[in-house]
């Protein structure tokens, strides 16, 4: 069979295509974006299966559920914090009887390369009582994506594939296998299993708990959880999960003895295999990429007196990513050394807004408008404009989750703070800013919302915003913001003076006002110019 060079993200996408998906949905988010970009390109080239960006992760998940209800296979992908947004459909989709295979890919970001936290999605899979597969390389990403659909249809559950940044964004060769055709279009046979009225839901939950035992059996037998016992060495045994396996194997040549080793990449984790590993050694070292998920369970299930070494005991770093070096102390190995450093401090080079960025001009105007107030509050959100937290702008004060800027400004205003300004991007506004704006409209909150409309989802590489820029104003007016307090300005430095006056005037208005600062992102403008030039 042919082979391809693929990013971890693309390997999952390819696996899903070869598993016969009929549709894929997502909201862009690093490090998961490339899955859907790959599928959109594929869809253009091969005229299907359909792949769509959605308004947010929740709507993406719900669309995938519809595909499953209609009998076909679907993929939904998101970054780890996106699953918080999609938690409602996710948790409840575990209770319905999934019909066409539904696979959720979640790309976690240990080390927070491009995220506000490093939450570990395996807890969500456990919470929902479903199977989670965790590849350690691109080949497994492809194969597990394919298997995930089969498991989904076998157990009638959504299956999670957990990626992490280092795999999502690492490229290697993948051997492909024979593609499977799409499912027939055929609605779920028992509609009651999809109507979660309490009486039905109780039956479904009961069924899921029974199926969970079968999932545990699957995990015990799965070749994704290989156990290698070495009865001649009993000092300690090793459990790895995710990429920790690679870092461990990288160090094995330096070990004098080969400890018994269990690698876990299919959950619910295999309790029997863990017990046989534990009986083979006096101590267990646990290396996990992410939270100490397995470790915390083990501290409850192994016999007293069994020593467990890991993140909870402090031998393995509890924060950030693992790597080939930071697990060496736990393996009793000396640190490696690199090249000496010249004695000079290295200036940091943090990311920054691009030269000519429209957001930079909007922040200048905003700062000018606020300069006359002794105190002010600017809540903000997730996107390129979050970089305005750094000098020279230092223009925003909060970044918590998608859409939070608007609700937080409302709360601060309700608490009596003035002026309260929220700043949000166009894509984030449509993702989850509309609902909190409705709250502000309902109470005519004394706050000012600035929507930075750069006509794209910039930080993730310039995906189109779900609605064109021209419709933003209509959305804002449609939910009832007073027309005389909806202002459109052009985010350009030549208008700094005028723009700051408009902002100031709206801050002074005792009620809700919305300013839409429009100018296309310089990066997408360049790209559109290039593409225009070629056609």
């Amino acid at each position: 069979m042919p082979e391809m060079v693929l990013l971890g993200d693309e390997a999952v996408a390819m696996g899903a295509l070869h598993a016969g998906i009929s549709a894929a949905y997502a909201y862009p988010g690093t490090p998961s974006t490339e899955i859907t970009e790959f599928l959109i390109q594929n869809s253009k080239k091969n005229n299907g299966p359909s792949a769509h960006w959605c308004a947010n992760e929740k709507t993406a998940y719900e669309a995938a559920l519809g595909v499953s209800f209609a009998g076909r296979r679907s993929l939904v992908s998101m970054k780890h914090v996106g699953l918080n947004v999609a938690a409602d459909p996710f948790m409840n989709s575990a209770i319905v009887s999934i019909h066409g295979g539904l696979v959720l890919v979640v790309a976690d970001d240990p080390g927070m390369h491009s995220s506000q936290n490093e939450q570990d999605s395996r807890y969500f899979a456990d919470f929902a009582r479903i199977v989670c597969l965790e590849p350690t390389n691109q080949q497994e990403a492809y194969e597990m994506a394919r298997e995930a659909f089969d498991i989904s249809e076998r157990f009638h559950i959504p299956v999670m594939i957990r990626l992490v940044t280092r795999l999502a964004h690492s490229r290697s060769v993948v051997q492909l296998s024979e593609p499977r055709t799409e499912n027939k279009l055929e609605k779920a046979p028992e509609p009651n299993s999809w109507i979660l009225l309490p009486s039905n839901a109780r039956n479904q939950w009961h069924g899921l708990l029974d199926t969970y035992k079968e999932m545990q059996q699957y995990s015990e037998e799965s070749s994704f959880n290989p156990l290698t016992l070495n009865s001649t060495f009993t000092d300690y045994a090793v459990i790895t999960t995710g990429l920790a396996k690679n870092y461990y194997l990288e160090n094995v040549p330096d070990l004098n003895e080969q400890p018994s080793h269990l690698h876990i990449s299919a959950y619910p984790f295999p309790a029997e295999k863990i017990r046989s590993l534990a009986s083979s050694a006096k101590k267990i070292l646990i290396l996990e990429e992410g939270y100490p998920f397995v470790e915390r369970f083990l501290r409850g299930i192994l016999p007293n007196g069994m020593e467990i070494i890991g993140k909870e005991s402090g031998e393995v770093p509890a924060e950030g990513e693992l790597n080939p070096d930071n697990i060496r102390p736990a393996l009793g190995l000396e640190s490696r050394t690199g090249s000496p450093h010249p004695d000079m401090p290295l200036s940091n080079r943090p990311p920054q807004l691009c030269p000519g960025c429209p957001h930079a001009d909007s922040f200048n105007a905003l700062k000018m408008a606020l300069s006359g107030y002794g105190k002010s509050m600017v809540t903000s959100d997730i996107g390129c404009y979050t970089l305005a937290a750094l000098p020279p702008y230092s223009a925003i004060e909060t970044t918590v989750n998608m859409g939070a800027s608007i609700g937080m400004a409302k709360g601060a205003s309700d608490a009596g703070y003035f002026p309260a300004v929220a700043v949000i991007g166009d894509s984030t506004f449509l993702h989850s800013g509309v609902s909190p704006l409705i709250d502000a409209v309902a109470h005519n909150t004394n706050m000012t919302l600035v929507i930075l409309d750069n006509e794209t989802t910039g930080m993730t590489g310039g995906q189109p915003t779900i609605l064109p820029s021209s419709r933003l104003e209509k959305v804002v007016l449609g939910i009832g913001v007073e027309p005389e307090h909806v202002k459109l300005i052009e985010a350009h430095r030549k208008f700094d003076e005028e723009n700051s006056k408009v902002i100031k005037q709206e801050i002074e208005y005792n009620g809700l006002s919305v300013i839409i600062a429009v100018r296309e992102c310089v990066e997408t403008a360049k790209r559109h110019k290039r593409e225009g030039g070629q056609s």
Partner: protein
């Protein structure tokens, strides 16, 4: 045989293109390859790097261990010093001399280059000048690819083949400029 490379630079300098040329060439020559990239926030003018690992055996980790890299190839002098922990004491450091001054506290250039030259196996190349000589300042990353070709365990013809392939779309002139830049880099290092 294993050969690990750290490619360093600032978002937008073409680190990924150079990485892709080496990686694709290695695969064509039958080696196993892992290429770990940085996407997302850092690409906005921040420090970026790729971990590129070539081997004739299974490669486990996507990340290069401390002291494991045989080469640090940097598009920019300040960035060349950021990954020294990963460079084997016997390894090579090749960097462009042309600073990307998008920060306020960029160090004095002469001091910086002086420090780089105190390292045992360092080469500083005026990549921009050579690229302009080849026909375009934008080909500076290909000058550095050419310099690297003296060290990476790959045939320079294979790498040139990939340069042709990736620039083909942009016309013969762009292909020729980039190949010339590669050649000049190759001749002006060692």
């Amino acid at each position: 045989m294993k050969y690990d490379v750290i490619l360093a630079g600032v978002g937008g300098q073409g680190v990924l293109s150079v990485s892709a040329i080496i990686a694709s060439s290695a695969m064509e020559e039958g080696l196993q390859v892992k290429q770990s990239e940085v996407h997302g926030m850092s690409q906005r003018g921040g420090a970026v790097y790729t971990n590129l690992r070539l081997s004739d055996e299974t490669i486990y980790s996507d990340l290069i261990p401390i002291g494991g890299a045989s080469l640090v190839l940097s598009m920019e002098p300040l960035e060349s010093l950021r990954y020294l922990d990963y460079l084997n004491p016997e390894g090579q450091l090749i960097t462009s001399s042309n600073p990307e001054r998008n920060i306020d506290d960029y160090p004095d250039l002469d001091t910086l280059i002086g420090k780089i030259n105190t390292l045992p196996h360092a080469q500083v190349i005026d990549a921009r000048k050579l690229a302009l000589e080849a026909g375009s300042g934008r080909a500076a990353n290909m000058v550095l690819a050419g310099a690297a070709s003296n060290y990476v365990p790959l045939k320079s013809e294979t790498m040139e083949g990939y340069i042709r392939k990736i620039f083909q779309r942009k016309g013969d002139k762009v292909v020729e400029t980039n190949l010339k830049a590669f050649q000049l880099g190759r001749e002006n290092s060692k």
